[in-house]
């Protein structure tokens, strides 16, 4: 993923794990409203539309799968057509693809560019400095990742005053430091300033143009466009979301259920579902499972206010993932009543909702009563997370046998 490149570049991770990712064509629609120079072209949802787009462009085109991953090039999702007929045929192939296990629902048909140079331009949040950082390199394209390792000096970084704006002179200095001269300094600076305006306006966490093409006739054109928006700021961008007419993130059924409940849900390769409250505690629980030789299938952070109902909901969602062979519930509660939770779990088990072994560890009111209820129902209730982790690993192994 291109994100990974930037992270390598910065040698820092991103500020913010949660962002709404826009498709290239959606990002470019926003770019367009800010006057960003773009290749001719447009989005298509069917091969026929792709043909129409190619006719409109009137020259050889690139046909590009719209996918929220940086690997589409390697996956064969970007191809070139000399005629509208070819474009239609390619579109048919590409629309039948799955990239990273997600179907390709749309394609972007754009003029094929005559390339003099591939450049990298991006802005993201530097969580360590707690500032936006503008990143540019005269050597963009697929080689940026390599460049970050071999010649980090060729990657120009500049932080933006967190109480101010990216200034025009700063944008020019970036262009100069990237090695540009003459009129290209102002052109490229203008492009960075537009990118900054987009970042400010749309609460952007990461935007990238990679590659930014310098054409053989000396124009800068954004050949690709990546735009991730801070999920926490979506309330400021209701119009954008309405206009998109799609979910803000691409999710499977289980992820959707968890999101709807305000829970964080990640599927992993193992077989033990860890259901906890708090991301740190959940990670520590995964780590503990690993120490005792197990492997997690599920990271499920119930979030704030974990009560009986929420624990049950979490177990229900976790059960829908077919890799799950055992469940570990680890709740660090305060006022949560353990007997309530125990009763809920027992009733779910009796209804047949829980078909794999389940271990509970919980801190809260009425711990002893909760323990009694669960033990009676044959569900282990343990007092430390180490014991619980050890137990669940054993139970999962039992399921394998």
């Amino acid at each position: 993923m291109v994100e990974a490149y930037v992270q390598d570049i910065l040698h820092v991770p991103f500020c913010g794990d949660v962002f709404m990712k826009l498709f290239e064509h959606e990002a470019k629609e926003i770019f367009r409203t800010f006057g960003m120079p773009l290749p001719l072209g447009g989005v298509a949802y069917t091969p026929e539309e792709a043909r129409t787009r190619a006719i409109e462009v009137g020259k050889p085109v690139a046909v590009k799968a719209q996918a929220l991953t940086g690997k589409r090039g390697k996956a064969g999702g970007v191809r070139f057509a000399n005629t509208p007929e070819e474009a239609e045929a390619l579109a048919k192939d590409i629309l039948a693809m799955r990239i990273n296990d997600l179907p390709v629902k749309s394609i972007l048909v754009e003029e094929k560019l005559s390339i003099q140079q591939e450049i990298y331009a991006g802005i993201t949040v530097d969580r360590n400095e707690r500032k936006y950082v503008v990143i540019g390199s005269a050597a963009g394209g697929m080689s940026i990742e390599e460049l970050a390792e071999t010649s980090p000096g060729k990657i120009i970084k500049r932080h933006v005053d967190p109480l101010g704006d990216l200034q025009a002179y700063e944008a020019r200095e970036i262009a100069i430091d990237m090695g540009f001269k003459g009129k290209q300094i102002n052109s490229l600076a203008g492009l960075f300033l537009k990118l900054w305006s987009i970042v400010e306006e749309y609460d952007v966490e990461l935007t990238e143009i990679n590659p930014l093409i310098l054409t053989t006739d000396g124009r800068f054109l954004a050949a690709d466009a990546r735009l991730n928006i801070d999920d926490n700021a979506l309330f400021r961008h209701k119009k954008l979301i309405e206009n998109m007419k799609r979910d803000t993130v691409e999710q499977n059924e289980r992820e959707k259920l968890a999101t709807a409940e305000g829970m964080a849900y990640v599927e992993l390769d193992g077989d033990i579902a860890c259901i906890c409250n708090g991301a740190g505690l959940t990670m520590a629980t995964l780590d503990a499972v690993s120490i005792y030789g197990g492997k997690a299938s599920t990271f499920l952070d119930l979030g704030g206010g974990a009560d009986a109902e929420r624990v049950e909901k979490g177990v229900e969602i976790a059960m829908k993932y077919d890799k799950v062979k055992a469940i570990l519930v680890n709740i660090m509660g305060g006022i949560t009543r353990c007997d309530d939770v125990a009763n809920g779990i027992v009733s779910a088990k009796q209804d047949g909702d829980i078909t794999v072994p389940l271990v509970i560890r919980m801190v809260g009111t009425n711990e002893e009563e909760g323990q009694r209820i669960l033990n009676e129902a044959g569900i282990p209730f343990l007092q430390t997370m180490e014991e619980a982790a050890q137990k669940v690993v054993t139970l999962a192994e039992g399921e394998d046998a």
């Binding site: 707690r130 997690a296 660090m332």
Partner: protein, 289 residues
């Protein structure tokens, strides 16, 4: 006398009339916190558990001489609430609210820094000083015992887990600071370390970190050269896969820094033992104390 919060703190609750604000005002009062005023625009004259409510921080400061603030205002308005507290020179300013937009966070963080104010959070459980019976936060107070160990953490419930383990082992806490789970937070680990290393009532430190960012690496490097007090660390996320969402923002792993391995190596390089499991923290503390 611990750090950030003590018996002389006069605490303002911003957003006191909201459900979270009201609930935790009660809990803080019950614990013993010196809450002297609340604030919700338009609610001047109301009372919440006997605490008078004002329309603005300025009013609350004028009338009740508040010195610190805890913020329960909803995310879209939390940044503004923090700016209001900072403008009134309240210190610390504890932002409990989660899901604050990162642009707002970055602005507020740097405004606070420019004024030398400690902003804690956002997305923090808050601060607790058990010896002074002062809790400016949402943590269950009973799991924190009074003592001489400074605890700082980027995590919420994991902190309670570790604190409970310490309490069971009869190890008490001078002050516990929840630094906040968001990638961009005000008070950083290194700043918390500095505070504890200057606090004469803190004899040792516990650092609870998680993957993402370089806050722990920076703190470890600083401690290697500048801090004599013994310390123990714990890092969550050793088994987190790279680049996966792990519930909140601190939990992305990427690059060569930010990994659990990098953080653990940094602590070990600074001579700071790192626990494998939360329960190891109390055990390691017993060894070094």
């Amino acid at each position: 006398m611990a750090v950030l919060i003590d018996k002389n703190s006069r605490v303002l609750v911003q957003g006191i009339t909201g459900s979270q604000g009201t609930f935790h005002t009660k809990a803080m009062l019950d614990y013993g916190t010196n809450i002297v005023a609340g604030m919700t625009p338009g609610k001047l004259g109301e009372e919440v558990y006997g605490v008078p409510v004002y329309d603005s921080v300025k009013q609350a400061k004028r009338e009740m001489d508040v010195t610190a603030s805890i913020i329960f205002v909803p995310a879209p308005f939390a940044g503004d609430a923090a700016l209001e507290a900072i403008a009134a020179d309240l210190n610390p300013v504890v932002v409990i609210t989660e899901h604050v937009p990162v642009q707002d966070e970055m602005r507020v963080i740097h405004v606070a820094r420019a004024k030398g104010i400690s902003m804690i959070g956002p997305n923090t459980p808050g601060i607790i000083t058990p010896g002074a019976k002062q809790k400016v936060g949402i943590m269950p107070g009973h799991v924190f015992a009074d003592g001489k160990v400074g605890l700082m953490s980027r995590s919420g419930t994991l902190t309670y887990e570790i604190a409970a383990g310490m309490t069971n082992a009869n190890i008490g806490i001078s002050t516990a600071i929840g630094l906040g789970g968001d990638p961009c937070v005000g008070l950083t680990t290194i700043e918390a370390v500095k505070m504890f290393s200057e606090d004469k009532d803190t004899k040792a430190m516990v650092l609870v970190g998680e993957i993402g960012g370089d806050a722990e690496e920076k703190a470890a490097a600083y401690m290697k050269d500048h801090v004599d007090k013994p310390a123990v660390a714990f890092i969550a996320g050793r088994t987190a896969p790279p680049g996966k969402r792990m519930g909140h923002a601190g939990a992305i792993i990427s690059g060569s820094t930010g990994t659990a391995a990098a953080k653990i190596a940094a602590f070990k390089d600074a001579g700071i033992p790192v626990g494998d499991k939360p329960s190891d923290v109390a055990r390691l503390l017993e060894e070094i104390l």
